[in-house]
Amino acid sequence: MQGGPVTVAPATLRLIDRGDLLAALDRAAARKVTIISAPAGSGKTSLIRAWTDRPGGPHQLAVVPVQRDQHDTQLFWLALLDAVRRATGAAGDAEPAAATPEFNARAMVDRVLSELGDARGDLTLVIEDLHELASPGALAQLTRLLTNLPPGVHAVVSTRHDLRLRLHRLRLAGELSEIRASELRFCERETRELLDAAGIALSEAGAAVLHQRTEGWAAGLRLAVLSLAGHPDPERFVAEFSGSERTVAEYLLAEMLDRQRGDVQRLLLRTCLLDRVNGELADLLTGRPGSERILLDLEDANAFVVSLDPERTWFRYHHLFADLLRLELRRRRPKEVPELHRRAAGWFIEHGQVVDAIQHTQAAADWPGAARLLADHSFSLTLGGQEQTMQSLVRAFPPGADHPELALVRAMGDLSQGHLDEAAAHLAVAENYAETAPPDCRRRLRVAIAALKLRLARRRGHLAGVIEQVKFLDSPLTGQSDEDITLGSDLRAVALLNLGTAKAWSGLPDAERHLREGAVLAREICRPYLEVHCLAQLGFASKVRPFATTRRRCLEAIALADRHGWGAEPVIAPALISLSGALVFTGEFDEAERWLQRTEQALQTDTGPDIRLLLHMVGGMLHACRGRHQHALEEFSAAEQLRSQLEGPPATASQVAGWLVATQARLGRPGEARALLAALDDERAGSGEIRNACAVICLAEGDPAGALGAARDVLDGTVPVIGYVTVAEAELLVGLAHRELGDQRAASQAAERALALAEPDRLVLPFAMTGSRELLETLPRHETAHAALRTEILDIIHGSPATERDRSSPPPVEELSPGELRVLRYLPTNLARVEIASELSVSRNTVSTHIRSIYAKLGVRDRSSAVRRARSLRLLSAGRTR
């Protein structure tokens, strides 16, 4: 060991300007995608740094280094999204992207592409160390990103080996370029320049030998320069190096280490186990103060240490360098390794960095300790959106070793994906274990288990189970530490979410109160994911409200989810599907279909029967309204099938069954319909929805009198109904039966009563679903007080808003488009343009364009005359409230 300087003075050891290489990268980066593929230590990162830092480099730059051994693809994508948003300056407008327990990579790529599309001017996206991304799925999504980059966006990707990116299309189009190891190698002249820049006096011949021995390998040359700096006899160093047959990296690392001061050596060896290190943590591991200064000096000397933040508090080692140091540590001081990991774990847990703490506990081979830590923190890790990380931590345990704590974590993964039976099995194991656990952690385990059982019961629609777990969680926690208080608020918010959801599912009234309280609390304790979850369920819980209220609440929840980047994730699915459903009820089928598709997209990673039941139900409603009965049958059957997987049926269960039966009948299969009826339990068989279905069967069987009898049970209140929709449907069935019986007058009266029920909330669905077109058409205009609604419904059933317009009224110059008609409906309200835009979830500009166009087509100049003219044209119903 020699008493030399820590390192040479920083100024003398700058990266040399490798002009040829930079020019090569310039040429390459003119194409869409550049791949830099070369082995460890080839100088990929240095090249990228030099290229991006030089004057005239790309002005909008997003750099994403892939973390070591990155299994959590969500964290990778979030880092990428954040980097892009920082580069485009969009970061200020929106909440920072945060992780969620459920994650949809496809939607994330769409988001990144849309952010990139918004970039003004050229943007360069740099992804470093892509080989560390240990997920084939992520590579597939990345391929999609790279092959769809918007104009003006270029990507530079560095990797140690060629990856399975499918970029043939780019290659064929001449949009892919590559830089490989041979180009990165230092030439003899550059080796000379590197030595000169570091102030190393070495003969021409010595430099040539050094170049030959290292074969121009960048890491080798940098290690050599660090060893040679201040070396008393550089020529001898080079001669000995070239005389050795040892591998370049090993020889030079040993030389370089030996040239460092004792405290520097100690720091390098004792902190190399960490993926990132700061001064305090390094002091702890070395047992001495002053580490931060050493780290700063090492970075300034370009000695394989890189700072991770602008303040230069966190550092990491170059990967190759760290790997070599770790081997050196294990060889020189094998007994210290577990202790170093343990100390690091202790520091991380103290600083709330649970994941790092668990990883180091695992590295110390303290498997029981690691399992305990993971189980202990599983609840807050899930709420913090670290689901994928947790699952990869579970996989890191040695196979065969039985750690019952882990069952809890496995159950969480199952629940997020909607695998309810597997979740229940893992929970049972976890529960057994909790009873035998040491008392100090038994309480926390029980809480975590209760929270999971709560979630499971909710997803199964098992209200009693939910209430039972909530009662358990409601009992105050014994501890008084900060952590317990936080856990208390977290638990309360989770309890309110699940209780509210379960009550909404069962159709109970105080659901909305719980969910609203849950959302407020979640906001207070900064759990945006929980807040969005509560609001999404509130959208679902609003279904007994006027449709306009449901729509508004759903759109609010979706807007908040969008701001966080969760707009296409399972968490927002309840709001998406409820919005779609409300739109089907009011006859806005195209719009409904759009939201239905978005729900499907959001549910890619969630196969839970609860939410999928709603998806199929709304899908069936939409098909049935459009007269596609075969498709409707498939959807309603799928919904009915999922119902059987739930312990508690949703409040709408009889509705699904009723529509399923009715659809069979409408398809001309009354026999099958009756068989379905016979299989129903008594509770559902006695519901108004099923009585309506009986009426549909009778009509299909040519028995209008029977239909009248069945529907009248609904109208005279002898059977329970879900809501007024069922009553309106019954009126229409009565009307259809009277028509069959030839009593036009009674038919018209029934149709008029149905219209009266439908008017306040502009309900369209039952008219479309029951096929009441002729019933409405034969209703004389002078006999109805709801002429406008009648016209509107007929337009919707015909699928074209213009075909049924009254020929006697003066036709507008030009027909309004469906988009314009949608805007038109809001003109009688007090809503400003921006509010109309938010109601319709379109931009303000779109609304203004439509309004201009409406004025032009109607030949008016202001809003009130537009409304008058639209009314006279029967484009608007008379006095609708929205």
Partner: protein, 82 residues
Amino acid sequence: MDPGPVRYTIRIDGHLGATMLSAFPALTPRRCGGHTVLTGLLDQSALYGVLAEIEALGLNLLEVRQHTPQRESPPPGDGRSP
């Protein structure tokens, strides 16, 4: 289809010292001219682990060869060179 552990020889450029060799505890090293030859029984996933280690340490991989004792003599072209 993983047939189970099979004997492999892996040839690396340069002499591996004690530090580098500690990364390959399952393999027996031998020096052969300017190269190091590592030999040992590996299944497929262990083989890929070794190859990843070689990559991570910046070593220069020259050859990977599988020995199939069942056959009387390995047919030409059986060696898996990268």
